[in-house]
């Protein structure tokens, strides 16, 4: 079987198929379970400086081709989260802490307050006021926050980018200038669903982020553009549910992939092993290695 192990964005992992931020990463037990189920790395739910309960329900609604969510960054704050990371590490895979803040100072406070194998800066959540994408859609913020965190930590730092901008490559380049070890693309697409019986927006927050199969072509395009322009690795996320999805994302240039919505919509925790097994069998059948797969679509003419 072809080996899938290698380094992704500065972190060594046995499989490039990771658990995405915000999915089942609220507790150490769920992170550990994902790792034991074959995730190459696990990314936590985003944590910030203070406990948040998140938005009112509904926080999730199934729509055509995916899910719409507006959780609202519920988290117990970094002060109550180290234990969860430590438990998560018991699964044997690196634990990457997804962190958010209202500015560089808060990002640094959270990052320096946690011991993790890497950090993923959430500069892309589309449904939290004055957080996530609201600051992450400006390249200058992305660069400054990335630089501030990089100066204070000695583990790899990834930046998760929002696709809800005209120029995602500009944001990727800003992360790279700030010293990021990798970028993660994409977060959810800003979206909305309305109940036709009452005329009311369904999500408690009125609008939220679309994930799942519907956004995969957008994610593939963003990864392709980013991988073409950046020196640092790109991690692809958005609508990956099968090995074919993962292979497509890697052909676009992703060095690793993250899986989120598929855990709820397809086969639960089994999705990590099924994607990895499919990828490995595909590489065997084609007689190629991971390094040849990554970016194949950019080389193919």
């Amino acid at each position: 079987m072809a080996s899938l192990s290698g380094e992704v964005g500065g972190i060594r992992m046995e499989s490039p198929v990771m658990l995405a931020a915000g999915i089942l990463g609220t507790t150490g037990a769920s992170l550990r379970r994902a790792a034991l189920a074959g995730a190459g790395a696990v990314v936590t739910k985003s944590v910030g400086v203070a406990p948040r309960e998140g938005h009112r329900g509904p926080t999730v609604v199934q729509v055509e081709g995916g899910l719409l969510n507006a959780m609202g960054l519920p988290n117990p704050s970094y002060r109550n989260f180290q234990e969860e990371i430590d438990i998560g590490r018991g699964g044997g895979a690196p634990v990457v802490a997804s962190i958010f803040g209202a500015g560089a100072e808060e990002f640094v406070e959270v990052a320096t307050g946690l011991d993790a194998d890497g950090f993923e800066l959430n500069l892309s959540c589309p449904h939290a006021e004055r957080l996530g994408a609201e600051i992450g859609c400006e390249a200058c913020n992305v660069e400054a926050i990335t630089r501030a965190v990089k100066e204070e930590v000695n583990v790899p730092v990834w930046v998760k980018l929002t696709p809800n901008v005209a120029d995602v490559v500009g944001l990727g380049l800003a992360a790279e200038r700030g010293g990021a070890d990798g970028v993660v693309a994409i977060n959810t697409l800003r979206a909305m669903a309305i109940d036709v019986e009452s005329g009311m927006p369904i999500l408690g927050n009125r609008f939220g982020g679309l994930s799942g199969p519907a956004i995969k072509p957008v994610a593939v395009r963003c990864v392709y553009d980013l991988a073409s322009a950046l020196e640092i690795p790109v991690i692809g996320v958005g609508g990956i549910a099968s090995w074919e999805d993962a292979a497509e994302m890697m052909m676009a240039g992703a060095r690793g992939v993250q899986v989120g919505t598929a855990l709820g919509m397809v086969e639960g925790y089994g999705v990590f092993r099924s994607i990895a097994a499919g990828l490995s069998a595909y590489l065997d059948r084609k007689g190629i290695g991971m390094e040849e797969l990554v970016g194949l679509a950019r080389r193919a003419r």
């Binding site: 769920s30 992170l31 550990r32 329900g57 709820g264």
Partner: protein
Amino acid sequence: MRPISARIVEIVQETPTVRSLRFDRSLGPVPGQYLMVWVRGIDEVPMSFSYRDGITVQLVGEATRAIFDLEVGGSLGLRGPLGNGFTLSGERILLVGGGVGAAPLALLGEAAAEAGIEVTTLLASRCCDDLLFLKRFERIGEVVITTDDGSLGICGRASAGLSALQLQEFDQIYLCGPEPMMADVIGRCAGMETKIQASIDRYFKCGMGICGSCSLDPSGIRVCVEGPVFRADRLAGTEFGRYRRGASGIKLLRDG
């Protein structure tokens, strides 16, 4: 699934703080399954089915207050049925319900009686006014009552009623109620864990196994999709009976 709009066709005041709502449609649940109830403009909350076409609500907070404000003809958005319900098994069963936790057990008991299973119920509440669905349970079999204040039946908690029963005679025991009560009953039925099914309660956001807010320590079992009904041996060694988590994920010590 998107929430389905259901019209309220009947409202019954069951106890001073508990009300049942019947809808113009059945979602075809297995007893023990739940649904997410969207009170438009307020919140979405998980509720057990107490009827195939209805829920039974205790007034506890803003969302349930808004449900109590609804009248016949009003509507709610429903997502369900969700999760895994009770599995009927054996010839003689015991239902142990505490407070509003008796709601899904009434639906289960009726399904059991229809299937020819002999049903005994241990119904527990704070006082006689709070006993839920006493008539429904009496219609399907013998009922043992406990009240904390002794106003009816045996004085004490549900566990006090266990001594009035020969537990070994039951092929299966079904629990739903406050967590301390369920943990206590399971603790008193040592050696019978594989014959006990308990419907447990955790904070849910998504109801589809992705948000992780209901994952049980230490194994990460997702209550919303792998439960809410579990065999008691699967709960052994978990956080059940010791602590739970609130909306932010912070651990809250056992209540009650």
